[in-house]
């Protein structure tokens, strides 16, 4: 019998040990959460009015923030990828800032812009539409942190796209807006979807910017992450259970992205 061909060399311990430690760092807390989750109470908890309120509020705000990100982010990505506007590079850099900015700083910045005493405050007060500490405040805070995920994903797809199809569409008589909607958008649809999932996930988990800009008013601006934090003081098992729900949602979102993020 022949010896097995190309038997893999043993991986070096210098790499394997930190790799195992890294995986443990990520997985142990998740496992701990699952072991402490009071599974028996989950069904009771999920029908509680305040919990349902938070879940429903979170869902609505995350969907609205994702929609807003799509509506603003796809055109923004297109401008960054396809135009030669002056200041485009600077703009591209600034768009990524919310990715690395501490969310609480984002919240403060939002307050200073759209709060009652913010830069645009007087205008908003006059219009009777101050978003701070309202449902719209939550949507705004979530969009602030979620938008960059969408812009970067879509811009990457646009930059990688060959111009040839769009050029052909133009010669075939399609005006630029038609080219965008009938050729460009369908072609990058998978990336738009991936960007929307990433944005939605980020919006759903938003905490810092939301609590700073919209507060944590039960039933009005208290999303699930904020209510987890609040429950941690009074009813820790309920906080664990809600956390498990968020974890489940995250896993589902990751699985939905898996074919793309291989």
């Amino acid at each position: 019998m022949k010896a097995p061909q190309g038997a893999a060399a043993r991986p070096p311990l210098l790499l394997v040990l930190p790799a195992v430690a890294g995986a443990a760092l990520l997985l142990i807390p998740l496992a701990a959460l699952l072991t402490r989750t009071p599974w028996g109470r989950l069904s009771d908890l999920l029908v509680r009015a305040d919990v349902q309120q938070a879940l429903w509020l979170s869902l609505r705000c995350a969907v609205a923030a994702t929609a807003l990100s799509l509506l603003l982010g796809v055109p923004l990505a297109w401008v960054l990828a396809r135009t030669r506007l002056p200041g485009r590079r600077v703009l591209r850099g600034l768009v990524t800032v919310p990715l690395v900015l501490p969310p609480v700083v984002g919240g403060v910045a939002l307050l200073l812009a759209f709060g009652r005493r913010g830069v645009l405050g007087p205008l908003l007060v006059e219009a009777g539409a101050v978003p701070a500490f309202t449902l719209w405040g939550v949507v705004l805070a979530e969009s602030f942190v979620a938008l960059p995920f969408l812009v970067l994903t879509v811009e990457g797809a646009l930059a990688a796209l060959s111009l040839a199809s769009e050029e052909v569409a133009g010669t075939l008589g399609a005006r630029p807006s038609r080219v965008f909607f009938t050729v460009t958008l369908p072609t990058i649809a998978p990336s738009v979807a991936a960007g929307a999932v990433l944005s939605g996930a980020r919006a759903l988990g938003e905490f810092g910017a939301t609590i700073t800009f919209a507060g944590s008013l039960p039933g009005r601006t208290q999303t699930v992450p904020l209510s987890v934090y609040a429950l941690l003081q009074d009813d820790p098992p309920a906080a664990y259970a809600l956390s498990a729900v968020l974890l489940a949602v995250s896993v589902i979102l990751v699985l939905s992205l898996r074919p793309r993020l291989r």
Binding site: A169, L172, G173, T182, A189
Partner: protein, 350 residues
């Protein structure tokens, strides 16, 4: 189609009647694609482009009505073959139904009527080329621009698609420009040949005229002839490159002797058919006036004959029988002598 355009990459004046097919040839980087892109409106240029008597040069891309097939066919991957072909009609506001009907007719005409529902990813190269052609032709454009439509196809498919191009385009409503590197396309497809070099038109004439009187060494080479560029003198042509290996009794380095000469000082090409070149392992002592020595280079089979590039200075292509090639042991490489009689060399003034 009548055009007089100028951009940073290419400058050209040309006329092509409806139904006329113009082969655009030239070395890499000569501006062939740029010419097509400028005519389509994809490359900014100045000048005029007249289609069916109307100057369209000021119109934006989508109002020019030009059929364009780029080098990579770039079908819309998310649309079926039918909807790809229907795109131009939909963009013009036709109903989905009417556009699809016309698209199906075009697909059938190009022999792929049964593939209307297929996505581009499921099609072969030849089928993709046909869909791209249907898509470009469906709206009946006055100008059709094909950028190497056959380059990506295998030989058998290439012949099929070439025949299809000929039967579909010749005598139609559209003036057609086809960029190609293949001399077969020039002979089989084109009514005229436009030779581009360094972004300018060197020659625009019938294939026969270009074959007999090529205006550049490059196009002579494309059509299979030996061509050397230089300045005519009393006995032939002084070539640009100064030969160093070819000197032998009667042969002057860097010089091609011709029986019929041109006025001295005329820029000219010296042409000779590869079949007129004889090869020898020993120095030939016959009457040939041009004898060049060089290593055996590339060998290419052409039916029962073999084309041999002799890497002399200037290089010579010879065409010999398989028997002669075997006898000479050409496959082993080495030094050979190429001889051409002065009577076989034709000078063409540039």
């Amino acid at each position: 189609m009548k055009a007089s355009i100028s951009s940073t990459l290419v400058r050209a004046d040309l006329v092509a009647e409806p139904g006329q097919v113009v082969a655009v040839v030239g070395p890499n980087g000569a501006g062939k694609t740029s010419l097509l892109r400028a005519l389509a409106g994809l490359l900014p240029s100045t000048g005029t482009v007249e289609l069916a008597g109307r100057d369209v040069s000021a119109l934006p891309l989508h109002e020019r009505g030009v059929g364009w097939v780029p080098q990579a066919p770039s079908l819309f991957a998310h649309l079926s073959a039918r909807d790809n072909a229907a795109f131009a009609l939909r963009a013009r506001g036709l109903s989905r139904r009417a556009a699809r009907k016309a698209a199906d007719e075009w697909l059938s005409r190009l022999g792929i009527g049964h593939l209307g529902d297929s996505r581009p990813g499921a099609l072969s190269g030849g089928q993709v080329a046909r869909v791209a052609l249907a898509r470009a032709l469906v709206a009946n454009p006055a100008l059709v621009l094909l950028d190497e439509p056959l380059a990506a196809l295998d030989t058998a498919t290439r012949d099929d698609v070439r025949r299809l191009l000929r039967s579909t385009l010749a005598g139609g409503r559209a003036s057609v420009l086809v960029v190609t590197h293949d001399p077969v396309d020039v002979v089989a497809l084109a009514d005229s040949v436009l030779v581009l070099e360094d972004g300018v038109v060197m020659q625009h004439a019938s294939p026969a005229e270009v074959a007999v009187r090529p205006r550049s060494a490059w196009v002579a080479g494309l059509l299979g002839q030996n061509a050397w560029r230089g300045i005519a003198d009393e006995t032939g042509l002084r070539t640009a490159s100064l030969g160093s290996t070819g000197d032998l009794a009667g042969h002057v380095p860097g010089h091609i002797a011709a029986a019929e000469t041109l006025p001295a000082g005329t820029p000219a090409l010296a042409l000779c058919e590869p079949a007129a070149v004889t090869l020898h392992r020993m120095r030939p002592s016959g009457s040939a006036r041009n004898v060049l020595a060089g290593q055996v280079g590339e060998l290419r089979s052409l039916g029962g004959r073999v084309r041999v590039v002799v890497q002399s200075d200037p290089p010579v292509t010879a065409e010999v029988t398989v028997g002669a090639a075997t006898e000479l042991g050409l496959a082993d490489g080495g030094l050979v002598w190429a001889a051409v009689k002065a009577t076989e060399v034709r000078l063409v003034a540039l």
